[in-house]
């Protein structure tokens, strides 16, 4: 009788591993246990039923363990001991119920891998959109300005629309004026021209250990080409020192 990769020779009371070409001559107790399992193949046989007369429980358990080793040895299970219930000899080999704690190297089916990967990707996407403590939104235009005294100031511009080429022209004019400052007291000067191009927001920022020093300037014009920039005005709004 074939049991997995072993041949069970009932007449000679031996179990032969055909793959490894090893035979196991069974003693009376071992033969009794295997016979019980073979006769109830596919069913759970109780410990009580497996015990032959005068057989000690520990002996019986050792026999089961030996049979499991001999019949198994791979990742497939043919004989399984179910605590408090009994032992089952499966009709066909079955995959083990892998335990995360018992077999950390246990292989996962592709579907599980896929599920885990999808969960991780979904988590990352959600965390990026939901948890992002975005404390700084990048400006549309930035330029480093060096004052006459060598101080470095970052000029940032937020655009109202996509007309960046027009914006650059205006920014260049403003940057040129700011560059003419002897000294600039700010780390950052941020500009934003309103959508109708008539109102200009200027924010000057200086970060210190204790607090942010800042100054808002609002400028409204009657028409787009109206001139207002002058060295005096830059000093008045404290852009130039």
């Amino acid at each position: 009788m074939q049991i997995g990769h072993c041949w069970y020779d009932r007449q000679n009371k031996q179990l032969i591993d055909q793959a490894k070409d090893i035979s196991w001559p069974l003693n009376d107790q071992e033969y009794w246990v295997l016979e019980q399992l073979v006769q109830h193949r596919g069913q759970v046989v109780s410990i009580h039923q497996l015990k032959s007369p005068h057989m000690h429980r520990t002996t019986m358990l050792k026999i089961i363990e030996s049979l499991i080793q001999f019949l198994g040895g791979g990742k497939d299970i043919l004989l399984e001991y179910i605590p408090n219930q009994g032992v089952i000899l499966y009709k066909n080999t079955t995959s083990p119920h892998a335990s995360l704690l018992m077999s950390p190297r246990g292989t996962l089916p592709y579907s599980h891998y896929l599920l885990i990967i999808m969960l991780v990707i979904a988590g990352c996407v959600y965390a990026y959109s939901g948890l992002s403590t975005t404390s700084h939104i990048k400006a549309d235009y930035s330029e480093r300005i060096v004052s006459k005294q060598g101080g470095l100031t970052q000029l940032l511009v937020y655009a109202a629309d996509e007309e960046n080429y027009k914006l650059n022209e205006q920014v260049n004019i403003i940057a040129k004026h700011i560059k003419s400052c002897d000294a600039i007291a700010w780390q950052t000067i941020t500009l934003a021209l309103s959508r109708d191009k008539l109102s200009l927001s200027i924010i000057m920022l200086q970060q210190t250990e204790a607090a942010w020093l800042y100054h808002n300037v609002k400028l409204s014009r009657a028409y787009v080409d109206q001139k207002w920039l002058s060295p005096n005005w830059l000093k008045e709004v404290h852009i130039c020192e």
Binding site: P83, N84, H97, A98, S99, L100, L101, M102, G106, L108, H112, L115, I116, L119, A122, G123, Y126, Y128, S129, G130, L131, S132, T133, T134, S135, H136, I137, Y158, A159, A160, T190, A192, L193, S194, R195, D196, L198, S199, S201, I203, L205, Q207, A210, A211, W212, Y214, H215, N216, V217, K218, L219, S220, R221, A222, Q226, W228, V237
Partner: protein, 174 residues
Amino acid sequence: MNKICAKLLSVKGGLYIGALLFTLLMIKLTWFTEMHMYDVQCQASAFDLAHLQEGELLRGDMLLQLIEQNGRLSLAYYSAFDEPIREYAIFEGELVTMHSGSLTYDYNVNMTDYKFAEVSHLNDYLLHELNLDSLKLGQLFPQSIQVIEADLERHFLVIKFSPSNQLWACKILP
């Protein structure tokens, strides 16, 4: 009991536990993440080139106070240009959406109270800032406010009004 433990410790059980924890995290993030706008006060030096006085640009001060309570926004503008004229405009709004990734708050806003001078600098400024043709009491319009710089430890915030593209650097109120 042993059976339950064995099931929980199996790979499948681990996956189920992971999926459950993930779901709970999503629920927590969706429902309990703070979504309200910061209460801020902002001051600005204002220059009006549209109403020149003897060829000189007009100087003044502006104050903006933004407070949100339970999704209701209160936006108060005060300005002082010509002595002794003081102008103000109060707006109220309802939070429509909050885009957590870009920290943008979309409101539906309407003006509830105002005091404008005959030649109003504040009125003109607000038309730029709120991207409107005219200001009327009760007139509902959409307004987005984006937080572009935030330092909560130092109680500092920079906000941008959209679509007008106007900036304010502000102090976060306690």
